[in-house]
């Protein structure tokens, strides 16, 4: 192919986080400025690299690699052309202040172990050719020559555990569905990523949708399910658009349909859009919602693997779990299992959010520490004040104080400190945070989002808000011991008596706040009764 020496390839992310800070306007500005100057610039809309504090991150392709600039505003484009930033001349030394050098060499990216996110930010999310050129669909090709049992064995041996938060071994779930005879089985992808501080699912769906489609297809081939549903929250309109476009491309090219790649096996899927209910991230509630009902939690058993969607055996997995399957089936179970520690195998895309200088996505093997993530990657707080508390694992995760920043991020180690790794999201707070207020918010959120089926969650959360209001009102005079005791009792009831993780885990943020930050609940014990 003849290379037009004048043509320059420039990458501007189409990830919604980048768009939220002006990426579309930057892309337009580049196109306008280039045409004004008679320059040929091909703009590729890639996914985000995950260095979100640098968004919009513009990358210019040069013979030595992609050079990054960020965060770029439309006003920077003219000066960037003037300073020669938009040049693929290997002799050119970038002088622009926004220049971060070779993107792949940036320590934030270089020191990651990107398996699930291998392509995100590098490829055009809606280019099937790009996907295939970067090892896409190798896992499916391998799977098509294997029996269902062999695929399930590979996934089990990889040690992959549910990345949605519950960390249940994925292979065991699949095995149950495989061994449950039925004329119709389903694959359901839980893309109702409602936890604050998490955006890995969204970044995969917007940045590499084919990997998720491939993962679901492999799951379908493995357990004998011919149809899949991708349940995406309505708060993710960009992800919904990208997925729909990718699904129709995959269908057109024979990767979905009645005869997947000529194998004689059928698998197809569709996107279903949620309607703003946090509880629908709970798997049984999600199934109810897919069936067109109120998202009310089901009692278990029966397990969804035996009686799931429309009463049929159903694999229901999180986005990251399913998106990790293609690389396992491509490179083998051992390759994936060799990352990680203890019983937490493989990698987890950690999401650095809240009050951090360098928020973004860091995929690393299990076993690194919160301190590493917060300071080595996150660069400390955005406000410059000390980091006081970090909520790990979403709104139902515990608040971690600095004294526990060195506990390795591993499912079991976190359970050991009454916390959870969950979906790998972490939200940092500086020392201006009021932990009693955060505890109250956790209860308030639970009251707003409770499905109402079980009493501890439905009523307990409202009573929790009231008790915390009393504690907050009294704290200037010291801790209201009677109310604190009541709160602990209430949390105990919710923990033990709720039907699902919403009511059952909201005590984690509440109790961790009161245990680790008692000073925010009134310093001295005021009275006994």
């Amino acid at each position: 192919m003849s290379q037009n020496t004048n043509e320059l390839v420039v990458y501007v992310p189409c990830d919604s986080a980048a768009i939220s800070v002006g990426a579309n306007k930057v892309a337009t500005a580049i196109a306008i400025e280039a045409s004004k100057r008679g320059r040929h610039v091909r703009i590729i809309r890639n996914g985000s690299r995950g260095m979100l504090w640098l968004e919009p991150l513009v990358e210019v392709a040069t013979p030595s690699g992609r050079i990054g600039y960020g965060p770029v505003t439309p006003a920077d484009i003219g000066p960037m052309f003037d300073s020669g930033a938009f040049s693929n001349d290997p002799e050119h030394e970038p002088t622009d202040v926004l220049c971060i050098g070779l993107v792949d060499e940036h320590p934030y990216l270089k020191n990651q172990e990107r398996l699930t996110f291998a392509r995100v930010g590098i490829t055009d999310p809606l280019s099937l050719d790009d996907y295939i050129a970067h090892d896409g669909y190798k896992g499916l090709h391998n799977s098509l020559s294997l029996s269902g049992t062999d695929i399930v064995t590979q996934v089990t041996d990889s040690g992959l555990r549910g990345r949605g938060g519950a960390a249940f071994p994925t292979g065991i779930k699949w095995k149950t569905v495989l061994n449950t005879p039925s004329a119709q089985k389903y694959i359901v992808c839980n893309a109702d990523e409602g936890d604050s501080g998490t955006f890995a699912d969204r970044m995969i769906m917007e940045g590499d949708p084919f990997v998720l489609i491939e993962g679901m297809t492999i799951a379908g081939i493995a357990v004998g399910a011919t149809y899949g549903y991708l349940y995406v929250r309505s708060e993710y309109p960009y992800a919904i658009r990208t997925l729909n476009a990718a699904i129709s491309m995959a269908r057109q090219h024979g990767y979905l349909g009645n005869n997947v790649l000529g194998s004689g096996k059928a698998f197809d899927l569709e996107v279903r859009v949620g309607a703003g209910a946090y509880i629908c991230g709970e798997e049984t509630s999600l199934l109810e919602s897919l069936e067109g009902k109120r998202g009310v939690v089901r009692a278990k058993p029966p397990l969804p693997a035996i009686q799931g969607l429309f009463g049929q055996p159903t694999v229901i997995n999180n986005v990251i779990s399913l998106a990790s399957v293609p690389i396992i089936m491509d490179k083998g179970a051992a390759y994936y299992r060799d990352y990680g520690m203890g019983r937490s195998r493989g990698t987890l895309p950690f999401q650095l959010a809240g009050n951090l200088k360098q928020g973004g996505l860091v995929e690393r093997a299990f076993g690194l520490t919160l301190r590493d993530l917060l300071y080595t990657y996150g660069g400390g707080s955005a406000s410059g004040k000390p980091i006081r508390a970090v909520q790990v694992g979403g709104p139902l995760g515990a608040y971690i104080p600095e004294s526990q920043f060195d506990v390795p991020l591993d499912y079991e180690a976190y359970i050991g400190i009454n916390a959870m790794v969950g979906h790998g999201g972490l939200v940092a707070f500086d020392d201006s945070v009021d932990m009693a207020h955060m505890a109250r918010y956790a209860m308030e959120f639970c009251a707003i989002e409770s499905c109402g089926k079980c009493t501890p969650c439905r009523i307990g959360s409202t009573r929790g808000v009231e008790v915390l209001d009393k504690i907050i009102a009294a704290r200037a005079d010291g801790q209201d011991a009677a109310q604190v005791k009541l709160l602990r009792d209430l949390c105990d009831t919710m923990l033990a008596g709720s039907l699902c993780a919403l009511g059952g885990m909201v005590p984690y943020p509440v109790m961790s706040a009161i245990n680790h930050f008692p000073e925010d609940f009134g310093s001295a014990v005021r009275r006994a009764a």
């Binding site: 919604s16 703003g276 809240g354 928020g359 939200v427 500086d430």
Partner: protein, 184 residues
């Protein structure tokens, strides 16, 4: 002959709401949505989304038609509409601003920003301005947690919002007077 007098049968009057004939626009939107999802299993949510996309809300007179078509009771349809935060029973304002108040945004000052928004717009969270120009709502996580605080403005995601940037977005909306334009 039945000696027991069935008073209920004599006095039963079908519920007024069950007999409401939808306005023509509503009927057309519902028919379109039902046709689009004909034969789809678990079609209620997609149908409600489609109706709301057309009309901006799910009017009361749509409920009966949807229920009949999907072989559900009106209570079931009403239950679903009221369960999910997305579905509206009343039209929203011309512009809809949904401010995230989840933890990551709180860590970056969302509460102050929301107070600022309430002052600027003259409405509280959950309210629509008297002139119908704007609805301000809370939302819980937009997945933009590394660019907090975030909001959804007429369906467009906006990140790293400062009070100044919020004012720019709002003045952009009022100046342009149409949807889908966000001053970023």
């Amino acid at each position: 002959m039945n000696p027991i007098k069935n008073e209920f049968a004599l006095t039963f009057v079908p519920n007024r709401r069950a007999q409401i004939r939808p306005a023509p626009g509503v009927q057309a939107a519902v028919d379109g949505a039902l046709a689009r999802y004909h034969g789809v299993r678990g079609a209620l949510l997609p149908v409600l989304h489609a109706v709301q996309e057309q009309l901006g809300y799910v009017p009361e007179d749509a409920v009966n038609v949807i229920a009949k078509a999907l072989n559900l009771s009106r209570a079931e349809v009403h239950g679903v509409i009221t369960f999910y935060h997305d579905f509206r029973e009343q039209p929203a304002g011309k512009h809809v601003i949904k401010m995230c108040r989840a933890e990551a945004c709180q860590a970056m000052g969302a509460e102050h920003l929301i107070a600022h928004a309430e002052r600027v717009l003259g409405v509280k969270l959950g309210e629509t301005s008297a002139d119908g120009s704007v609805t301000l709502e809370a939302i819980y996580c937009l997945g933009n947690c590394a660019c907090s605080p975030a909001a959804l403005v007429n369906g467009e995601l906006v990140g790293r919002i400062t009070p100044d940037r919020f004012d720019d977005v709002v003045s952009g909306l009022y100046a342009l007077g149409h949807h889908n334009e966000v001053a970023a």
